[in-house]
Amino acid sequence: MVKEVLQKPDSFYDEFVRKPGTNPYSTHYCPGCGHGVVHKIIAEAMDDLGIREKTVFVSPVGCAVFGYYYFKCGNIQVPHGRAPAAATGIKRALPHSIVLSYQGDGDLAAIGGNNILQAANRGENITVIFVNNAIYGMTGAQMAPTTLIGQKTTTTPLGRSAENEGYPLRVSELLATLEAPVYIERVAITDAKHVMKARKAIRRAIQNQVEGRGFSFVEILAACPTGWKMLPVDANKWINDVLMDYFRLGMLKDKNGAAKPAEAVKKESLSTPTPETIIGILGEKQGPQDAYSQPVTDANFHNPRLKISGFGGQGILLLGQLLAQSAMLSNYCSTWLPSYGPEMRGGTANCHVIISDKHIGSPMVAETDVLIAMNLPSLDKFEHDVRKDGVIFVNSSLIERKVARNDVEVVAVPATEIADELDEPKVANVVMLGAYIGYTGLLSAESVLAAASRVVKRKEFMDINKKALTRGMHYAQKHKPQIVEVTA
């Protein structure tokens, strides 16, 4: 036993050269500190399991922040409390690695409380070593979430009181209520018998990860003689007599082999896609990149700045998108700018669309060439932004009043009624879009349908959209018959 204690595991550096100071053989821990013992148990487990080279040791902030002085493996030092989050990023990036997250009670249970809870709940396939010494060692013996009632620390000089600070947190019990973790045990290292158990527990928690079983957690009650202002022997006695009474040792969760680690989910889809596949995925539903014609139009309808407005749910934003996208497919520059956020909920929705044969600066439409008003509040709100000789498309099914302006063109389209006739009230927006292109002749029906086919997934919907578009075009052309031939 004695010989064993003196021997350095291979997973420790022979000389601790990263440690400042003159003695590269001793650790930076105080005499009797629990961290040193726990480190050794971990290093021996790494040796025995033959995992040193693929181990990544994650040390957040606490007395063990310098874990990288000792562990001869990949080391990543991370912010206070964030080890489980960083470990998640590491393990997801390196599914073959063995990630050890080593945290103190302040780190894990206070500042990083949510991070450990969520990583455990996700069932990350990592191993968490939780050193509970009931105090903040590194910063000079302040209260930890695990400090006992009555225990004196520098921030509870009269002892922790339940009234002011609440009760000590039993993290292992808390985590054991979660579905995902596969293994949770609390151990101590106060004597050889306890060390044996701790050794078994830590080994098991790492082995679980090696086997891809999922989240494993070992809490170790450890001494901080310096913080507790005790001699090492008294510190161990206090753990045995007092600390263990509140933090009961034993297995809290053991779910052998049942869980499927999150990282395995990733592995399943992990094939390196070819550039062609990536382009296919990102290009969405790419039709042939043919450019649609730019029909000749009246100069008044050229390079329009549009405002499209109506109720949320009328497909206002989609109308604008189809218009702007078909403009792109017709080799125009185009922009689409929505009103976004809570404003859209329940209330009005509007978007600004600019179509131009030149580069577009501001995507915002103030002075408006074309207003498409799908309901009355939209007409009320935007009628006066329309420039002289501009055009207002009015959904006459829902807007009973006349347009007050007499210096603009007004195109009244009973879009909702036409859509109802098609048995699909939702396509009133497409009827109106048809009316717009039918009236102005700015874009071809083909370009709009090509744009729609990129957005609309189901064929039945494409058919109804085509009908709606054609009906809208016909209606507008009756209104202004000298415009283009209908081809759709």
Binding site: R18, G74, V78, G89, R92, P273, Q289, P338, M364
Partner: protein, 354 residues
């Protein structure tokens, strides 16, 4: 390659995937959520990881962990979420980890609103986290640049082992425009410094700790040298009709688009106005501004803020030319007409000056 019609926010993810990024960790917030949503849809399809973290703090630390392994990784948020990420960004700068962070700015302070503002300039360009560090900051003004500059951001992040932030606003994130997708990157740079859970990298350490003051000073000096190289190499900007301009307007992001229209209109009336648009906010295009100070009579900075970038313009010009400021806040975006009035007003004054 393919031409798509997408939101700026979605263009970010396309650019990222084409640049070889295969991991996204984020937390939803308007007006940046479409970035996470696009990542959730697309990353698994290309064999990558998407995870909705429990908070922005968790997300940036997941990014930190993944970046330490050498993977190209990113996160995205909007102003309040970026405030939470600052600790992680400082750590990443200290540990010299490459990562890309997108900030789609919204109105503040506090919860503010979700409309576009540019009031994160100080927290992003001047620091935000603790310590003597800088992050490269790129400011796209259209969907195409949301894609292209995101791809560039990964390249710069790896080149300098430093976080790169894309600073944009609600309008650029939400608006849809045509985007020509670039070719996918097939070869990523080697990262021998990373902790890759291999025999060769098992001696590697990622850390921002330097206990000895002398060592930490040396580390800081090395960082400053890196930052000074970046200042020399990575300045990006666009000039529009500046050469004979009496008045130079300066704006980035969505503001530059409105200014461009205002400048074009003013030019059509024979007025000598030009636009300088910083594309990199750090490093800031100081030299181009100084050059313009030789010909221009005055400068006007327009921002959706209380006047943050204007400080850098003034520092660059160092009192050589009058520098005016016009700002809107709270999510109010000025119209072209409004900016025309400001510009015309200044031009009258500037003429009186000459």
């Amino acid at each position: 390659m393919a031409r798509v019609f997408v939101k700026g926010n979605e263009a970010v993810i396309k650019g990222a995937i084409l640049a070889g990024c295969r991991a996204f960790y984020g937390y939803p917030i308007t007006p940046a959520s479409e970035i996470a949503e696009a990542a959730a849809l697309l990353f698994p399809k290309v064999g990558g990881t998407f995870l909705q973290a429990e908070s922005e703090i968790a997300a940036i630390n997941m990014v930190y962990g993944a970046a330490a392994t050498g993977e190209r990784v990113m996160t995205a948020s909007s102003s309040p979420g970026i405030s939470l990420k600052q600790e992680g960004i400082s750590y990443a700068a200290g540990s010299e980890l490459p990562m890309v962070v997108i900030d789609v700015m919204r109105g503040g302070p506090g919860l503010g609103n979700i409309a576009p503002e540019q009031s994160d300039y100080h927290q992003i360009v001047k620091g935000g986290g603790h310590g003597n560090y800088k992050v490269l900051v790129l400011a796209p003004n259209c969907a195409q640049e949301m894609c292209d500059l995101t791809a560039l951001a990964f390249e710069l992040a790896d080149k300098y082992r430093n976080p790169v932030i894309i600073l944009t606003d609600g309008f650029v994130g939400q608006m849809m425009e045509p985007v020509e997708l670039p070719e996918p990157i097939t070869e990523l740079p080697a990262k021998p410094w990373a902790v890759a859970a291999t025999a060769e990298t098992s001696g590697n350490l990622i850390s921002s700790i330097y206990l000895e003051p002398n060592e930490l000073e040396l580390h800081n000096k090395n960082l400053q040298e890196k930052f000074s190289n970046i200042t020399k190499e990575e300045v990006r900007y666009e000039e529009i009709m500046t050469r004979d301009a009496d008045l130079i307007v300066v704006g980035y992001g969505i503001v530059s688009r409105i200014l461009q229209t205002a400048v074009e209109e003013a030019r059509a009336e024979g007025k000598r106005v030009g636009l300088l648009r910083p594309i990199s906010l750090w490093p800031f295009p100081s030299t181009p501004l100084q050059d313009l100070a030789q010909t221009a009579k005055a400068f006007l900075v327009v921002e959706l803020s209380n006047g943050q970038m204007v400080e850098d313009v003034k520092l660059s010009l160092n009192g050589r030319r009058p520098t005016h400021f016009y700002g809107r806040m709270g999510g109010v975006v000025p119209t072209t007409k409004e900016l025309r009035e400001v510009i015309d007003g200044l031009l009258e004054k500037t003429e009186a000056f000459s």
